[in-house]
């Protein structure tokens, strides 16, 4: 008997809840409390921009040394590292210096780039950098096929502080951008 009494009481309680729209009123109270404690999470994007994280990976750029020469040695490692085949490098000898190479042409198809940063990791001379630019929406997607001059220009405007060009030990040896402790410095 006791059990039936409790179920009947519960049923009455449930019935009362139903006819007073209790559950709906709870929901309406929740929405109204959000209206009264109005704290929007929206950021008005073109007018205010969020602060980017320090390791933000944005637009790619080619870098220069402080004397204005290109860092890129045309080794094709970025092309090999790229998972989406964004990069195409045409490597060539530096005229007059047969042991040194540079990238004669350097193309990036940014329509495919997924901004993984593997090319930057792969570069032995740190010639590639990722800027903090991200507003690269264009009307014509051909404008996202970048050549070497454009990539250098992006690097110039995004990295004003350039790395110092190291003195090389021997002009006939191609050195990467690392200091070799066992090699005596070149007498200058």
């Amino acid at each position: 008997m006791a059990s039936t009494a409790t179920t009947k009481r519960l049923n009455l309680y449930e019935w009362f809840k139903t006819i007073t729209f209790y559950e709906i009123l709870v929901g309406m109270k929740a929405t109204l409390s959000h209206l009264l404690n109005y704290r929007p999470v929206t950021l008005q994007y073109p007018h205010e921009k969020r602060t980017l994280p320090d390791n933000y990976r944005g637009m790619l750029a080619l870098l220069r040394y402080d004397d204005g020469t290109e860092k890129c040695v045309g080794c094709d490692l970025c092309e090999a590292a790229c998972p989406s085949r964004v990069i195409r490098v045409v490597s060539a000898e530096v005229p007059g210096e047969p042991t040194k190479r540079y990238s004669k042409e350097y193309y990036m198809d940014m329509t495919r780039c997924l901004f993984c940063g593997m090319c930057v990791d792969a570069c032995p001379v740190d010639a590639l950098g990722m800027t903090r630019e991200f507003e690269w929406a264009v009307y014509d997607k051909r404008q996202l096929h970048l050549n070497k001059q454009q990539l250098l220009a992006i690097g110039d405007r995004s990295f004003p502080v350039r790395e110092k060009r190291l003195e090389l030990q021997h002009p006939n040896v191609a050195f990467f951008n690392v200091a070799f402790k066992h090699v005596p410095p070149k007498p200058n």
């Binding site: 929901g27 309406m28 109204l32 959000h34 704290r39 929007p40």
Partner: protein, 358 residues
């Protein structure tokens, strides 16, 4: 002839004023809905056009005016063109019998003018219900003439829903009509004067609280608003009956929906919440010695009641998800209809015994 001309001029002025108020209200509503929904969802709503986005309705109107007017291939051109108008006119025509302010008159060249109601016909509420039902034709024809499966399904759903809930609206109003003994909205509103305890929502001998709840729910369903927006369920039927509409024709449907909301709110205010009567006896204006300005206060009260009802529409939209179709039908026929019928019986008995006691 001059008298006829004067009457015509007065009527046209009144119609223009009421239409202007309604259209401005609709413009405000489109912005207010987006703003209130945004605030309730921790967003900002439109912020770009004008300060805090207050010019957004104008921008929307300009956009809709200049959009291409597409008639889909295979559509019935005549019905496709006529449907938005069939939807819009019944929505606007109901405002003719709504009393906006006190039932006062003044004379212009021997012609009696009632400034706050366009026409006080003695079957006012029946007229509104009749035209509200006609609005369903526009929706059904628009859905059928579009030659699209989504439109057709939206139109059919709308037909079934409006017929089911129209009934509940009509029956929930009957209690008020028994209490007032009149179908004229002016007379019904006048009978509720003298404080909120005389409003039919609370009035003795039979408070119409259940009827009011039934009316609110049914009117939300009748105007196809969330949570009863099955005819335009965007997750199932792209946009329901106006999927194929664009530009100005779409704007007509949009305008009709919002005008219907305003109309339903006005009727609720007039029938259950005392219309333009203040919730206290008399008016403050009469108390401080300017009874000629009492209409300002009364009109303000009407606006306050209507706008709080409209706010309820937004509030429900921000809170509730859409009902399933069988739930909608079961709720309408098995819950709302018996409550409305029971309310009629209870109200009739109460009024009968009340008059016997007197």
């Amino acid at each position: 002839m001059t008298e006829f001309g004067l009457r015509l001029a007065i009527s046209l002025t009144q119609i223009a004023a009421v239409m202007g108020v309604v259209v401005v209200t609709v413009l405000i509503l489109t912005l207010a809905e987006r703003k209130v929904l945004g605030w309730m969802q921790d967003r900002m709503g439109p912020m770009e056009v004008g300060p805090y986005g207050i010019l957004q309705p104008l921008a929307d109107a300009i956009k809709l005016f200049f959009k291409e007017d597409i008639i889909p291939a295979g559509a019935n051109k005549f019905l496709f063109t006529v449907a938005p108008i069939l939807c819009l006119i019944p929505a606007f025509i109901g405002f003719a019998v709504i009393p906006w302010g006190p039932n006062q008159t003044f004379e212009v060249n021997g012609i009696t003018v009632r400034p706050f109601v366009i026409s006080d016909i003695n079957i006012g509420i029946l007229y509104i219900l009749a035209f509200a039902s006609l609005g369903a034709y526009g929706i059904i024809l628009g859905g059928w003439a579009s030659n699209s499966k989504y439109s057709l399904l939206g139109g059919l759903r709308s037909a079934a829903q409006i017929i089911s809930y129209e009934l509940n609206v009509g029956l929930s109003i009957v209690g008020v009509l028994i209490l007032a003994g009149s179908l004229s909205l002016v007379k019904i509103t006048d009978a509720q004067a003298g404080g909120f305890w005389n409003w039919y929502l609370f009035a003795l001998p039979a408070p119409q609280i259940f009827a009011f709840v039934v009316y609110v729910i049914s009117s939300v369903a009748e105007t196809n608003r969330v949570p009863f927006d099955l005819p335009e369920a965007e997750s199932e039927l792209v946009a329901g009956f106006f999927t194929e509409y664009s530009g100005l024709r779409f704007a007509f449907f949009f305008l009709a929906e919002y005008a219907n909301m305003v109309l339903v709110s006005c009727v609720a205010a007039a029938l259950f919440l005392g219309g333009w009567n203040a919730p206290y006896p008399g008016t403050i204006m009469a108390l401080i010695g300017v009874p000629s300005l009492a209409w300002v206060e009364n009109t303000m009260w009407f606006a306050v009641k209507t706008y709080s009802f409209l706010f309820l529409f937004f509030w429900l939209r921000a809170t509730l998800p859409r009902l399933r179709y069988d739930q909608l039908m079961r709720f309408g026929w098995k819950v709302m209809l018996p409550i409305a019928l029971g309310n009629i019986v209870v109200t009739s008995l109460a009024v009968f015994f009340y008059q016997q006691m007197k």
